[in-house]
Symmetry: C2
Subunit: 201 residues, 2 copies
DNA sequence: AGTGAGAACGGACTATAGTCCGGTTCATGG
DNA sequence: CCATGAACCGGACTATAGTCCGTTCTCACT
């Protein structure tokens, strides 16, 4: 028995489970695209997928989890580009340039799926900060902001300006152009702060 | 808009309405303090106040509105100190100093009522950006960041790092000390950015 | 193939936010 | 003091997220 439990790879997914998971993702993608994420209930997703609510929730946890699952593939593309892609997004460029490239790329991703990302971040309280994706972005940015006094906090602060809720709220006010420029400027000034900012009260 | 509803308007408030409003605020304050904001249902508030649910919701709109009403007095104190208090929070100090003083004071306020502010900001989607208080903070900070290329966006970005959701999430990670220092540094570097940051790609 | 353990299924069930509308109470003018 | 309309009251009602648990299906091992 102990030997069985030690198997590192995930225990194989049952065929019915796989079939239902695909059906749910398929139905959800279609419904969300048709009617908007907010307007679709979990009951509707379950019905459209030909699946019970219990199945839906056990698989994805909650509505945020379902949205996250739909975003998963896209996020992985971005993560891969960061880890192994060409500079300046990938390794090889100076940190400051990579940080700017990251926020640019992240905004591309975000603006293409605002509603979905927003759902994945806001359905549960504090959901955003618990999902693996956030951890990844945060760690990456913290490493790039290495020269600052507190890279961890600086990274959190920049990501706060990239929260879906925040972006969705200010986009109508400032527009995409100013938003992009503003975020670039933000990350640049945060990264460049220590050398020029010398004036503790 | 809720702010409008909270000020006793010119059209005289009926005596029974006033009595019920006071009873609700009283009961809500007590219950929230006793059991935590999240754990208290609107039904419980209504019952404890000796009032029907209809009354509760008509008066305060939703749970966010109730939380905002409870915070109203405190917020006004801070707003008053900003408008007419002594420097550096009030008028008279240089803008950069006032901006730092503002985030300090705002964090004092926020950390004292995280749960309540969080509820007022997150109960409804996008609630934070619609309530009058946010508008006030944003306008104030934008004026102080006048020298930056886009004060409006810079102000939004700093406030993003002060969102209750964000602060509540990172506080366990970084602690109050680093949080305060990080935010101070953020606003300082944002305010100081244009003179030192010279490197458009 | 037969079989048993356990994972997956699904729909009834619960909890809670927010809505609705008929009945009641207040403030004003006669 | 009484009539009257407007504003307010309150609890039954709706909608939806999320849970529970008896039943069904898969798969590995005889």
């Amino acid at each position: 028995m102990p030997l069985e439990l030690l198997r590192t790879p995930p225990p194989k997914e049952r065929s019915d489970a796989a079939r239902n998971r695909a059906a749910v993702l398929d139905a959800a993608a279609r419904l969300f695209a048709e009617r908007g994420v907010e307007a679709v209930t979990m009951d509707q997703v379950a019905t459209a997928a030909g699946v019970g609510k219990g199945t839906l929730f056990r698989r994805f946890g909650d509505k945020a989890g379902l949205a996250a699952a739909l975003l998963d593939a896209r996020e992985r593309v971005l993560q891969q580009a960061i880890l192994e892609g060409p500079p300046p997004l990938g390794p090889g460029a100076p940190n400051a340039k990579r940080a700017v490239a990251f926020v640019d790329a992240y905004l591309d991703h975000l603006l293409e799926h605002v509603a979905l990302v927003r759902m994945s971040e806001t359905a549960a309280p504090g959901a955003r900060y618990r999902i693996g994706a956030y951890r990844f972005w945060h760690r990456h940015l913290a490493i790039l902001l290495d020269g600052t006094p507190d890279p961890e906090h600086a990274s959190h602060a920049v990501l706060a300006a990239l929260a879906a809720e925040h972006v969705a709220a200010i986009l109508p006010d400032v527009g995409e152009k100013r938003l992009r420029a503003g975020v670039r400027r933000l990350v640049a000034s945060v990264a460049a702060a220590p050398p020029c900012q010398e004036d503790p009260s």
